[in-house]
Symmetry: D2
Subunit: 468 residues, 4 copies
């Protein structure tokens, strides 16, 4: 088994795919055996007590028969030292094979079964009791800080001084590790401690809370607790692609909220300042439809104003122009355009977040993640993230999801059961306003045709993308 | 789920049994759903590629259908903090319910399915990567030492001075813990460091290696490495009844052998000095048969000598007398009897260990454990354990199982595949000698009727009892 | 130097004394060199600036000349690993040599100088920054708990169950260690957590706070914080005789009070329940004088009552009888005697504690220790300690010294500067009552002749005995 | 006392100087009291035993009288938490006050006494038993690695990648900390593991031992032990100026040699590759004398060759030109010059290291440090350090001091007692060659007039500069 692992780890990407396909097909359930077992099902001619017992035994055998042999292989690998980590990495390869464009469709079903087996096993191992929360400070091991820095993809770390600030005063950084791989952060969560819910990243990343903070000091003593009543989760990153679909982030948030309350008993507000990864993509789809005359998204006044500032002659050209504009970041400097776009984009973004669904859940992966955790969609913020990434994904708009501790569990259940998005009045109002305009559209605005058929989000994923 | 666990933990023994029976029956597989699914099996009328994919999907659904709902319950419980420990304890209750005399047989099959599910899950969690080996010394936490003391059942710890010696110079004590329950030793292993393979416990328990050893010193510096080339595993205890059937002890032995080699590069001999828990029980069965004239176990000469020393008139009375004698420990003082019994008991013990089988494996659970690990049945030692327990279980006989590192893996495979016991020439010779006498018996000595039908060793157990 | 230490450690008691005397005399200050240096003192014939500088240089040389060579030896030894611990142990030998009855008086002065050098060095090393406070629980290393048990001399630990209770719920045990000897507790402090100041040891040692406390649980979670507002220091032990005269206990008390306040913010009372080691000794002296008619200690009524209960005819016989009575513990069972003695003994004990002085400080070493720390002599408790030791030392009487945090520093200064004992009204009243009776004595009750000339308390001791 | 410390820490540089001067003068020894005590010296008119005792008591009083009051102040400060660190920092201020050019000479003697007191106390606290050796790796706390990076002055760390390499494979980094200030490295030692004694820094700083070394791996497993038999101490830095004169570095070297031998039993060579901080300064002095015709330092041939390559007409101009040349680093590119200078500079450098003395010890502080530790001056290496600092201090020359373990102690004693430098034949030969040429000088080459009167190295320093 150890040899097999070593052999696999030496393979290149394509060979690994082949290996996995081979494993999926050759170590799959023996159809014949299942068929034979089914025909041996105990029949009702025996007395009922006996029949029950025989049925249970037969089901037990059936259970083993339908268990594919690769299940056994995986559980053997897990018994090696380093085995669980190996399987996490193997699943990453498996997922990329599964969503590879060159995959022969005839192998897809077998690979999905393989993935399903692996995911179930991993979700047993990555259970809360085996996960450890750790606070990261400037006194943490250097290799850990290096990883925290490298994994940070939401708001990239510029250098060690930047990193030191992110684990310094008025900041908290927590990681989740697993007992099997104690040196590997699975989830990294960054928190900003303040006294109001910020409406832009600038307030978080560039702020030194006061000029008196000594840069060399990392002790929390240099924090003034009276300035702290709000915790902002401004970055949460899942680092292991191989754990896709296995929820870890919400546990971390809950544990960390608990720790924050313990450290600051007067802490009263918990909120995120979150990106909206899919807004521009969706908006482009809407504008394409609007351009074709298939949808209304702006008011007449807005279209007129945009025609002037964008110096175009017709409404279709407005959409054409805007789509082009959003491929670069330059428009942010044209104050007229920015001002004219604020109202319609905020409105449309609210609609995107609040109303758009996929398989009944909120289309936006980050929104879905926080709503499932029981958060409230609280406020949408214009130009909150002026970084290239922020502009490209969401025209710079960000959203606060608030965690009201007493209501989280109830909210979460409501969302999971009724798919109803819980949002503040402001957000709801904006979304309704957008809906009214869209409703007037000539064609039916049913959400499914709207959906850009994205090839990437895998079918098996219930949880969101790793970057939130 | 947390409430359910709390509720369960408050229950008494009988109520727990009821709870488990209820769980086993009401949360069992839905026979109806399985039946319906079976009828939906994709048929060959579609094209073959599609059929394959559909078969896989159908099998996937079948797999979920035959998975009983309690599987889901257990995996949810495992997600609670302390959940895995809760399940280990619950399985202990489950096993005692399953083997309870008052169990309604109609519930047995359902309970076995419940146990099977739980055991499979536990064996996934109690995987090597999550187990930690720790050395215990006099500087270890007191609560840990208290547990090591309380769990020791092979050679009970008399007091704290005794305990201190067992973790002191020329001794090693290792424990296995699990990441989920770091303060709970799962397996405890005691080692004695010496320069020859001892033939009695007295050499191990009562020896201070030299008078110059300062009782207050626990540092290994007070050991003279030149006196050490042999490690004797003289006690190995599995502490969690709920982990019955999940092998942990052999991993501990392997890891510990590795550590011993690292600490003492010149270490060349690894052996146990092990009890023989079932010998007297088996012997009594044999003597009952001999008394009835159904078997030969002693030679004529031996019977005659025993008649004299036991002051009885006939051969049946010898067996009668001996069985009575073995219920107390007094015979150990009667030197004539002791001397006369040595040869026949040693011979019969070798036969018991080497030849007697149950379901093809060695009848004696300790022997079975070490043989599966790849050890060699090396030497049988007369009056090696004069403690009441030692006399009651095995007339004071003990056995050394030796671990020859290079051969362990091969031996283990041989035993598991061919059921052939690997033993030294001496042991083999003794066993053959006993066999020759027994073979002369009037009735057929087939092993199954010999077997005392013990109610306790559960059917599902592959691994041995917790005490070895 | 290392050889010297090894050589010394191999010596027997007498040889060590010889070694120390040799060291004290042969490595003492060179009188001749000092004399010569004195004669080289710079004279006023040079100009004043130069003279000043020359004086400083001369004083520097004088400082080195009067520094005895053993100072250098000690500081070299301290540089060895384990050196500081060696010096602590050496000082213990030195003190016992110094107070040995067989010491040739001509060596006394030299030994005192040696001790003085050593004490000064030790007091530099045993400075607060190098001392560490540690809480001891049942999860602490076993060797540490063993030491805590063995060093406990105030209220001896009976067995491991007893020890477990003393570090369990409603108890705290703290130790001081030094960075040079991290495995050696220097001071051990036991605390009882309750909601009133107890008047007897029984309440402390025998209480399980509630029947629901699980004996196997050591977590503080099994404490009900609402039942805790009082911390009783019921045992404080200095373990190193070689550190006599170097105050550690008061630092520990201060640090621990601080930790208690942090753990229980509502903690409002800090008190001891302390022994009175010298009371009976002093009382015997008083009774001897009373017997001779040199002092009054009881009232007429009391003497009469005692004559009846003790069945003697005259007042002198009362004292005779009482002194004999106090050599055993039987009187505690004679209720009449006990009742009759309560008032006079309580009164006399208050007088002993409050009024009796030695070199201006309170005669009782424990009282002196707590008064120096700023505590208040708060309440005297009849039959608070019925153990043999308690009866033998103080007729079972114990005293509470209370620590009022805000007043400690001020009290301490007052006591050190004015020698005034700060006591509660009750104690003061009792002491005055005793004084009134004693004052009526025929002879002058000056305290010095009263004092039993004890050979043991060394002159150099400023701090109290190790047991408080 | 705490207030005093806080007050002091708030002061500016000049105010601190004033404070220290005030402390030195106002808290100095009471001359009057000393004088009076001297006059009370016991006279010989009493009997001799008594006289001896009285003398000892008088000396004891004298000892206290000459102890300046600031001794008491310092020892009180040490009792505060953080007090010892405060004193270390205070001594740094004290030394800079003492060597400040603006110091009024009339205060110098008093300040020296103050420093002497402080140094003696610090050397008691910074004793081996309180020092801890720690290995620093990439898994050490980030703040510690940041300090290691910032303190490195011998071969400055360029960035975090550079730092990571210095604590990575084929490297060891050790620090000394003190129990009072566990987060502050006192001495930092960098080691390079190789299989030959390198003759240039390039081999140490730029080498990745093999291309197969994974940059992200810091485990020592990526080292091939068979390539390691030599440990090169290539940087040793004392970080606390306030500990000047208190030897720590040699303890670290000894402890570390011990650890290296334990980790690599086949380690056979220990050597430094050390800078020569004072060579160019000394050389300039020599060249000035040569220019004036007061000394010979080059041979005729050498002078002629230099005249050609330096394009000057006369011998004095050669020296003039060279001194100018050495102020920049450009000459290293002129191969002719470099080649011509090699022989004479290597010779002169050997002379400087081997022959030049100050107060009988080797003039070069680094050389003096290693010779005191018992190392052998083993090899001088041309152009071993081409960094600007290396060129400016020593024309790029470096020297290997080798530690032959068996001979260290003996060498050290020889050097300390006889001042004889122990060097290899090669070094000795070069030094003699230089001496022969210098001896031919017209004027007497006595070393004292040669010495550049450096104001900086303080008189009180026995140990070398902090950078070695």
């Amino acid at each position: 088994m150890r040899d097999m692992c070593y052999y696999y780890s030496q393979l290149g990407t394509d060979e690994r795919s082949e290996f996995l396909i081979h494993m999926a097909t050759s170590l799959s359930t023996n159809h014949q055996a299942v068929q034979e077992l089914i025909q041996q099902k105990p029949q009702a001619d025996t007395n009922s007590v006996d029949l029950d017992a025989q049925l249970l035994i037969w089901e037990d055998r059936l259970r083993h028969a339908v268990q594919p042999p690769h299940h056994w292989v995986f559980s053997q690998v897990s018994r090696l030292s380093g085995g669980v980590k190996f399987l996490v990495d193997m699943r990453q390869d498996l997922l990329s094979t599964l969503f590879s464009k060159t995959l022969d469709p005839s192998n897809s079903a077998a690979l999905k079964t393989l993935d399903s087996t692996l995911r179930e096993l991993l979700s047993l191992w990555f259970t809360v009791g085996l996960l450890n929360v750790q606070r990261i400070t400037w006194e943490s091991p250097c290799n850990m800080l290096q990883k925290v820095s490298e994994y940070e993809a939401v708001h990239p770390v510029r250098n060690w001084t930047d990193l030191k600030r992110r684990v310094g005063p008025y900041r908290r950084c927590f990681i989740f590790t697993h007992s099997c791989m104690p040196k590997e952060p699975l989830v990294v969560l960054h928190i900003f401690l303040t006294n109001e819910i910020p409406d832009s990243m600038a307030k978080i990343l560039q702020t030194s809370r006061s000029s008196s903070i000594d840069e060399t000091s990392v002790s929390k003593d240099s924090e003034d607790p009276s300035l702290i009543n709000t915790a902002i989760f401004y970055s949460i990153t899942s680092t292991q692609k191989g754990l896709q679909g296995i929820e870890l982030g919400n546990y971390l948030i809950k544990k960390v909220v608990h720790e924050m309350k313990a450290e600051f008993p007067s802490m009263s507000q918990f909120s995120t300042l979150s990106p909206i990864p899919g807004f521009v993509k969706w908006l482009n789809g809407m504008m394409a439809r609007a351009q074709r005359g298939d949808a209304h998204i702006f008011t007449e006044t807005e279209v007129n104003a945009l025609q002037i500032f964008l110096e175009v002659d017709s409404s279709p050209e407005v959409y054409e122009r805007l789509r082009k504009l959003f491929t670069t970041n330059g428009w942010i400097e044209e104050l007229d355009v920015v001002e004219t776009l604020e109202a319609p984009l905020m409105r449309l973004c609210a609609y995107y977040l609040f109303t758009e669904k996929r398989r009944n859940y909120t289309l936006d992966s980050v929104a879905n993640f926080h709503l499932k955790n029981g958060a409230v969609m609280w406020r949408i913020n214009w130009l909150a993230d002026r970084s290239p990434r922020g502009l490209a994904n969401s025209c710079g708009i960000m959203v606060n999801y608030r965690y009201f501790l007493e209501e989280c569990e109830c909210n979460s259940r409501t969302y999971l059961e009724t798919m109803k998005v819980i949002a503040s009045d402001t957000v709801t109002f904006l979304a309704k306003a957008a809906e009214d305009i869209i409703k007037k559209s000539p064609s039916d605005p049913g959400s499914s045709p709207l959906l850009p058929r994205s090839p990437s989000p895998p079918v098996i994923t219930i949880t969101p993308d790793s970057k939130i």
